[in-house]
């Protein structure tokens, strides 16, 4: 149980970072942290107590195997996260060129 709580804490850290920090780089980091928390949670969901790697072999009987599917899915999810993060960082760099600041509260020309 404690491990799920830790995972939740990680997620909350990420969320807190997105919501409270003003520096856009920190916001990006927050997104990454929250994303990792979700990925971790996905892996944890698939975990079975005393489970083993899901490798099929003729010698061992299939008992108590961790669910292999989430591991495959998380790989995809990490790749998606990577794409988003790259894009965000690229945009952040360009924003710094144009606005000369990393402070998100000062980047507010679009409003109303």
């Amino acid at each position: 149980m404690i491990i799920y709580l830790l995972c939740l804490m990680l997620f909350c850290c990420g969320l807190y970072c997105i919501l409270v920090k003003r520096n856009i780089i920190k916001i990006i980091l927050g997104i990454i942290i929250a994303e990792y928390a979700v990925n971790l949670f996905f892996i944890l969901v698939a975990y079975r107590m005393e489970g083993r790697a899901p490798i099929l072999s003729s010698e061992v009987e299939i008992v108590n195997m961790v669910d292999p599917l989430p591991q495959a899915l998380v790989l995809t999810s990490i790749v998606i996260g990577l794409a988003t993060t790259t894009l965000l960082v690229a945009i952040a760099m360009r924003i710094y060129e144009k606005y000369g600041t990393f402070d998100i509260t000062k980047i507010k020309e679009l409003k109303g």
């Binding site: 929250a34 994303e35 979700v38 969901v45 794409a83 924003i95």
Partner: protein, 501 residues
């Protein structure tokens, strides 16, 4: 003999292939992006019509990727709702790509634009055909990432700012969605939506499902820009190049937000009165707040963007009612909105192309100089304002009747109020942009090139004759199968399993 269900993966494959070819050779041969881009969207449009036809004649089609048996493998499902969404998406994509031939001359690297554009189309088509919840998420992310990049395409101050806000908010939405999917998976141990529906139907209600519902409403609400998850939209949609604004407002928020919301709540989790009231309240909030915000805008595209929020509210209200009439009205409004809102964004792009400004205060009397743009945007404005006989009138009429019929008089009243304010804000647009005294500074303005006109006129014609779609015979092919899918609710599972492989 290839089974007919093989057309389903083509929707994704063809657009990805187009994007690939353009990205490889488009940089060197200048004519490649235009030609390949338009051919791809044309083929997709043709395929969607074919898909619609097979749905009517043969019934639901299922394609299992890699020939894995359902529910283990990834399934692609083509049913009435999917075919309806495919037509909507690809119709708009086709007209937008025609429009882009001329419009995107303003920007350098056209090939990048077409690559991203086709990637986005691939993502949207993927979301719509996918029968697997994680696959749906992946396609949703493909479309989203492409759209983040497209919003920032101009790489000026405002574009970057909008893109950043959009990306952060949308990523947070995606996080919630992924979390929701994790919960659902842990609860049902399957990813196939049909299978999931079966398992959920057997299990009793639990708090996990509530958790999932909240996460999904937030996530899809962020993608669909429902109030209070809407704040990125008025920044992001105006900042993109006009054809992309048309795509974003016209179809992206619908296929990523509304379609998924409907699919999961109606066909997988199953709708209940509380959920339906939540949807209606969210819809009404968006409808009213969106229009109040829109009416005070002076930036043409920003005004349109706020109206997207408001019109999405109508769609959600109609679908949330859950009655057959309400769902037909909601889906019809979805289609109509994608037509007239795309048209309006294309018009705003045409005005910007000709005059270089988006500020309504600086325009005036443009209808004399740009008759095609002026007339088509009059048609679109009247459609969105619900003036008969244009298409928007019919869908609003159905939604209002459905709301009254379901004894939801209050919602009907708000729908009427929003309709009045929509009319008010579009008469404002017409007054400041197109009517009034012609200004001297625009005396040199010329009508836009032929391809842009072609796209606008096509969409305007659909606006004018849109009401025809309600005639019972056409309705049987177009709207009825789509609304049936939602009405049959969680029986969706049986239909998918019995579907033609």
């Amino acid at each position: 003999m290839i089974a007919i269900s093989h057309i389903i993966p083509l929707f994704v494959a063809i657009s990805l292939l187009g994007a690939f070819i353009i990205s490889i050779i488009g940089k060197r041969l200048k004519w490649i992006p235009d030609v390949i881009g338009n051919i791809t969207t044309l083929i997709l449009l043709g395929l969607s019509v074919l898909a619609m036809w097979t749905i009517v004649t043969k019934g639901t089609l299922v394609y299992s990727v890699g020939s894995w048996k359902l529910p283990i493998g990834i399934a692609l499902v083509l049913d009435g709702l999917t075919a309806f969404m495919l037509i909507t998406v690809n119709l708009i994509a086709f007209s937008v790509s025609i429009y882009s031939i001329s419009y995107m001359e303003r920007f350098t690297s056209k090939w990048k634009f077409y690559t991203l554009f086709l990637l986005m189309v691939a993502g949207m088509n993927g979301v719509v055909v996918s029968g697997d919840i994680f696959n749906l998420f992946v396609f949703l992310e493909i479309a989203s990432v492409a759209s983040y990049a497209l919003v920032a395409f101009g790489t000026e101050r405002h574009e970057l700012e909008a893109a950043f806000k959009y990306t952060v908010m949308s990523s947070v939405g995606s996080l919630f969605l992924l979390l929701g999917i994790v919960f659902l998976y842990s609860y049902t141990s399957t990813l196939n939506m049909a299978d999931m529906a079966n398992i959920l139907a057997q299990k009793s209600a639990s708090n996990i499902i509530i958790m999932v519902i909240v996460l999904f409403i937030t996530g899809f609400g962020l993608k669909a820009a429902l109030v209070p998850f809407h704040a990125w939209l008025p920044d992001a949609h105006p900042s993109a190049p006009a054809p992309i604004s048309a795509m974003l407002s016209g179809v992206l928020i619908k296929s990523l937000g509304i379609y998924t919301l409907c699919r999961i709540f109606y066909n997988v989790i199953g709708i209940n009165p509380t959920l339906s009231s939540i949807l209606m309240i969210l819809g009404t909030l968006s409808m009213v707040i969106g229009v109040f915000l829109a009416i005070g805008q002076w930036d043409f595209k920003r005004l349109l963007a706020y109206h997207s929020i408001s019109q999405i509210g109508y769609v959600i209200l109609g679908i949330g009612l859950g009655t057959p009439l309400g769902i037909i009205g909601g889906l019809f409004h979805l289609f109509n909105h994608s037509v007239f809102k795309s048209l309006l964004f294309l018009n705003s792009g045409a005005v910007e192309y000709a005059t270089g400004t988006r500020d309504l205060k600086k325009m005036g009397g443009l209808i004399a100089k740009m008759p095609v743009t002026g007339t088509t945007s009059l048609v679109a404005s009247m459609s969105i304002a619900g003036i008969p006989p244009f298409n928007g009138f019919w869908s609003k009429l159905i939604i209002i009747i459905a709301a009254v019929q379901a004894n939801r008089l209050g919602y009907a009243f708000w729908a009427v109020l929003a309709s009045i304010l929509t009319l008010a804000s579009f008469t404002k647009v017409m007054k400041y942009a197109f009517f009034g005294k012609p200004r001297k500074r625009w005396s040199e303005v010329k009508e836009v090139p032929i391809f842009m006109k072609l796209a606008m006129v096509t969409l305007a014609i659909i606006c004018v004759i849109g009401g025809v779609l309600l005639i019972s015979n056409i309705n049987q092919i177009f709207l009825k199968p789509a609304s049936d899918v939602l009405l049959e609710g969680t029986k969706y599972a049986d239909i998918v399993f019995k579907g033609i492989q």
